[in-house]
């Protein structure tokens, strides 16, 4: 068979999607670090011989959105002619890749009988890549990228199936924990899995049919995406928000965007945003683009498989030297903390064009690291954590609890974290009254308390929204602010900065409380029964039910007092309070 019929096309598309998914499963299942195996902080993709992304595994948008650019750029340094079966090229240059050193790309060419079929590619967040702080995501005290760890321009680390021992020795000598070597091996194993699936398809249908199918995936997706963009109201929409700061005693970062919806194209321009900063959190352009693309995809073709055809319809620009397109060697280790803001600012602009598909701002997350020596084993440990608050309210329903909107990591189970690292997790719970009130409320903030069971640890906090809360839409209120506390409820209680670095000791307790997500619509229009359920479930206090929602609930019986609720809401309306809004459907 050498012609592409519709059935073959769908089988190949499905086969390439499952190849990418299976690479992800293999990576998680053979990895060592908690970040990769439990946190799913990695991504996978299948590429055509020209370096166009054809399918992806549904993992991190930050990785996935940058992958399409990174692979083409890696192929400039390592062209096809220089590659052979079994080779693997790694790269973690922040500008070429996904914006910080821990994210290591690995690209493997795939052949059938000497003919190049394409590339199996994945990117994994290495739990450490050397540099000034454990976990290599330090923000404070970092002036340039050279402080942040080991950097690889595109470099071969496997040649014809054999590891390049010298490269592995260099890595071994520069990272704090040996898991990194195991995870790089897992990345190779994952790509080999993808390669086998691509070879099988090529063997069944022939390489040229496989390539025709790849071309058609891009063409069909591109056409579909252009049509979806054309269905939006054309125009230029702007929005602004900001990051709290770039470390203790620093100024906020302006995040301003203009989204222009044109004929079959979207242009996202970050001009007017803040300047590049001397702190490890600048967002290189690939990273800025990645989360901008994710926001646009959410409101156009949310369920369609992502590929180069879709990405090509979106152009993302930012002035060189700005926070969202810094010049080398800008430091960037903690740039993950910017991901939510990139997505939300673009989403805020899109809310003006397609309100019913937009969502209010998501609660923020913390992605801290703690480094030290495990007294039980005498070996270095890095405790990687993710504390994820809820999703912003949707146009016709509440947000989702304890799930990120832009990000797609998983948490580390308490039972795993405690068996791996000298820590005790004492509390993980949703925070009452943290959700942004609205006719539809946002998701709650999340609290996690972690006690250290080792001396001389260093804690690198990584969070935001401790100063500026997540916005609401259409009269919905912002979510509650985040907070990091040390030893709460004791004489030694103190507030910690969202991006600070601290030396801590045994029995110190860190308590993260993420912000809550924003609401949508006037909270005084929320169904009183929905408020009652929230009160019974402990999401909203009886007091907040009255003050924020105008709903009166009996403290003893936990029953709704509809008469007093109506009266209270009528008074509020007469007083002109909170009545001006666009009403969600």
């Amino acid at each position: 068979m050498n012609r592409l019929d519709p059935v073959t096309f769908s089988v190949i598309w499905g086969g390439l999607i499952s190849a990418a998914a299976e690479m992800g499963v293999t990576l998680a299942r053979t990895a060592y670090s908690v970040a990769v195996r439990e946190g799913s902080d990695f991504s996978t993709g299948v590429f055509d011989p020209q370096g166009n992304m054809i399918t992806q595994g549904d993992y991190s948008p930050g990785h996935l959105g940058s992958m399409a650019f990174a692979v083409r750029r890696m192929l400039e340094d390592y062209p096809v002619a220089a590659l052979a079966p079994g080779d693997a090229v790694i790269c973690n240059d922040p500008g070429i890749g996904s914006g910080h050193l821990p994210d290591v790309y690995m690209m493997c060419p795939v052949y059938l009988e000497g003919r190049l079929l394409g590339f199996a590619v994945n990117i994994a967040h290495q739990i450490d890549i050397g540099g000034s702080g454990a976990g290599s995501q330090t923000i404070t005290g970092i002036q340039d990228n050279f402080q942040e760890g080991l950097r690889f321009l595109p470099t071969r680390c496997f040649v014809r199936g054999e590891p390049v021992a010298d490269i592995f020795r260099i890595i071994e000598a520069n990272v704090r924990v040996p898991e990194v070597l195991g995870d790089i091996r897992a990345q190779y194993t994952a790509n080999m899995t993808g390669a086998r699936r691509m070879e099988e398809l090529a063997r069944t249908y022939g390489p040229s049919v496989l390539h025709q199918a790849m071309d058609r995936i891009i063409a069909e997706s591109g056409a579909q995406m252009r049509a979806a963009i054309d269905a939006l109201k054309p125009g230029t929409y702007s929005f602004a928000d900001r990051m709290d700061d770039v470390g203790p005693d620093t100024e906020p970062v302006e995040a301003r965007v203009k989204v222009t919806i044109g004929k079959g194209r979207v242009h996202v321009d970050w001009a007017g945003s803040g300047k590049q900063r001397e702190a490890g959190m600048n967002s290189f352009l690939h990273y800025t683009a990645a989360y901008s693309i994710a926001a646009i995809k959410s409101v156009t073709l949310p369920a369609a498989p992502q590929n180069d055809g879709i990405i090509r319809t979106i152009e993302v620009t930012a002035p060189p030297g700005s926070f969202f397109n810094p010049n080398r060697p800008a430091p960037c280790g903690g740039r993950a903390v910017v991901s939510h803001r990139i997505y939300e600012v673009v989403m805020g602009a899109l809310a003006k064009a397609v309100p019913d598909r937009a969502i209010a701002a998501t609660a923020h997350f913390y992605n801290p690291n703690i480094g030290g020596v495990d007294p039980r084993t005498g070996r270095a440990f890095i405790c990687w954590e993710s504390i994820i608050g809820g999703v912003g309210a949707r146009w016709t329903k509440d947000g989702v609890e304890a799930t990120s909107s832009p990000w797609n990591g998983t948490n580390v189970p308490v039972e795993i974290q405690e068996s791996r690292n000298p820590v005790l997790i004492e509390r993980v719970e949703l925070i009452e009254d943290s959700a942004g009130p609205g006719r539809y409320r946002g998701g709650c903030g999340l609290r996690k308390d972690l006690r250290l069971l080792a001396d001389n640890c260093t804690f690198y906090n990584l969070g935001d929204r401790q100063i500026f809360p997540p916005y609401g839409l259409a009269g919905g209120r912002p979510g509650g602010l985040g907070l990091t506390l040390l030893n709460p409820g004791t004489p030694r209680q103190r507030r910690l900065h969202s991006k600070g670095t601290y030396r801590l000791g045994r029995n110190d307790l860190i308590s993260w409380r993420t912000s809550g997500a924003g609401g949508v619509g006037n909270p005084f229009m929320r169904d009183p029964n929905a408020v009652l359920i929230d009160v019974r479930n402990g999401y909203v206090s009886i007091k907040a039910a009255t003050t924020e929602y105008g709903v009166v609930i009996d403290g003893k019986t936990l029953a709704l007092n509809l008469t007093r609720t109506r009266a209270l809401r009528a008074r509020a309306k007469a007083g002109g309070k909170k009545t001006k809004e666009r009403v969600p459907a």
């Binding site: 998680a28 299942r29 099988e200 949310p302 304890a402 990591g409 308490v414």
Partner: protein, 693 residues
Amino acid sequence: MGYRVGIDVGGTFTDFALYDDVAGRLSIGKVLTTPQDPSIAVLQGLDELTQKIGIAAGDLTDAIHATTIATNTVITRSGPKTALLTTEGFRDVLIIARQKRWELYDNSIDKPVPVVPRQYIWEVPERMLHDGTIRRKLNETAVRSAARAMIKAGIKAVAICFLHSYANPAHERRAAEIVRKTSPELLVTISSEVSPIYREYERASTTTLNAYLMPAVSAYVGRIEAGLASRDFKRKLFIMQSNGGVAIPEIVARFPIRIIESGPAAGVLTAARYAESAGTSNIMSFDMGGTTAKLCLIENGRPALTGSFEVDMVRLKKNSGLPINIPAIDLVEIGAGGGSIARVDLGAIAVGPDSAGSDPGPICYGRGGTEPTVTDADLLLGYLNADYFLGGRMRLDAAAARRGIERQVAEPLKMDTIAAAWGMHEVVTAQMAQAARVVSVGKGKDPRHFAFIPFGGAGPVHGARLARMLGCPRIVFPHGAGVESAIGLLMAEPAFDLARTRITALGRDTLVEINEAFKDLEAQGRAQLSACGIGADGRIRRSADMRFAGQGYEINVSLPDGPYRAGDVDRLSRAFFDAYAATYGDRAFDRKDAVEIVHFRITASSPVPAFKLEGAAADGSDGAHALKGSRRVYFPETNGFTDCPVYDRYRLRAGDSFPGPAVVEERESTVVILPDSRARVDRDGNIVVDLAG
């Protein structure tokens, strides 16, 4: 010796297979399921069948039952108020879950809704550590007041799930004791008994589901037992579990979570029996009933088990359902069956997952159904015989089916009615092909290396078309396909898969712990077998989930019987290396790296009895003696309707061989043989079709 009966409740029909092992005779029956209380149809159908063959229920030696009660209770959230008692500080484990989005970019998605709402979650002070040491003693007063508060809130069942209880169950056990004493009316279940596997969310999800199911399942099983007892049935009732083994009602009442996949498991087991007819032990089983279709791969004669699966998933998306850490046959189930409803969606035909079920059922049943279903389309296309549905017990109304499809599918799409019916048939078949790819291509298995076994009422109608789409080289249409799962139950035997997390380095120093862990599990397994009446001939197989020290996931490795001595350590690591290399390739690891066991597992089972229908001598011919006539049947290969011979399955003889297109009618189903293929009847009465390559 005597009569064994298998009873399989499906979404639309309840099937019966009764085997007289003295005469070697099989009788089958089928009645419509009674969704409000499925036990009604079970008992009614049993009465019909026993009367038909002239025996009393008291003559039955065994009754083996597969049921959808557990799945349905979860999917419709019809269980009673259920509580969770957990470690202080961790009441939100179920709501937080693993935080993964099941659609990456779609902001309209929601998380799976736990069966216990937040207001019914109680915390108590206590704390274990990962190595089983107690960090904080259990506060017994707090347990008591929680148990009292639960009664006040109207709770019927409670799950107790404490952190790290897999490592030390003492607190869970004590808390259960206190709850039972304080509030004896509560049904109690503890995570260290249901699923002592680490990762707190998955364990809590499994345990709360178990609690949620306890009231409904024990009441249901009780009704069946009482009904049987009132008919003088004095022997044991067995219930099929998700792992393909059966258990007695007492065990099922304690662990109802084990029967979530009861019905589908029965079907898969049956398909595994056709290796001989298929000429291969690599089989794809395809069970299509009125409401859903289930697909499963069987390699080397054994269906694969999965250690965890999800219930109530959305669009088959991983992480969209509630996770269950209980071994189950690894299969996929989609909402595509004879009763699946067709509609027009964005200018295209969409079928399912909504089903007309048995009540009202398809339009052609004439029981008040108004929405066109797959069965209506199959009737219009000539695949089904309006006068011989259920052997003529139910007349189908073809004119009404035609009107329904015309108005609701053909007219909106401005197409011919027959083209619309074909579209429905093709769309539902293509959906099943996608599900088939999830279990085959999606796992790196090539469907072209598997024989295809279709059964269930609608399976043989769609089987050949689906096998052709997938490229399976051979199809075996089993004898009695319409009640195949019920037949499968006849040869089911007790089997229990038990597991426990205990992270243990593999080495000479740890052999004592390794031997002890297996010994514990084996004692539990033997006890559950002996409760089912199985003594010394029971069999225990060992395996372990192993990994390189520091990895997060394991692979399951079969291990030899123990106890192990120092000399066995190399054998155990070799078994792991071989399994690892087979899964990930032999370059993926270093044999010097340390290995650890994470989960110890055993399967306790009894030897499978010899059950075989007598084969016949192959004296067949061209099958002309079984010809009932012919009718017009639609095939795209013949450019539309063609005169198609119709055979009577009960008159076909072993060795008969005839070409497609053809239709073979039996009471519970209809086999459709496609053009360009040839059917032959084997010694066991199965129809074998080799598809042209």
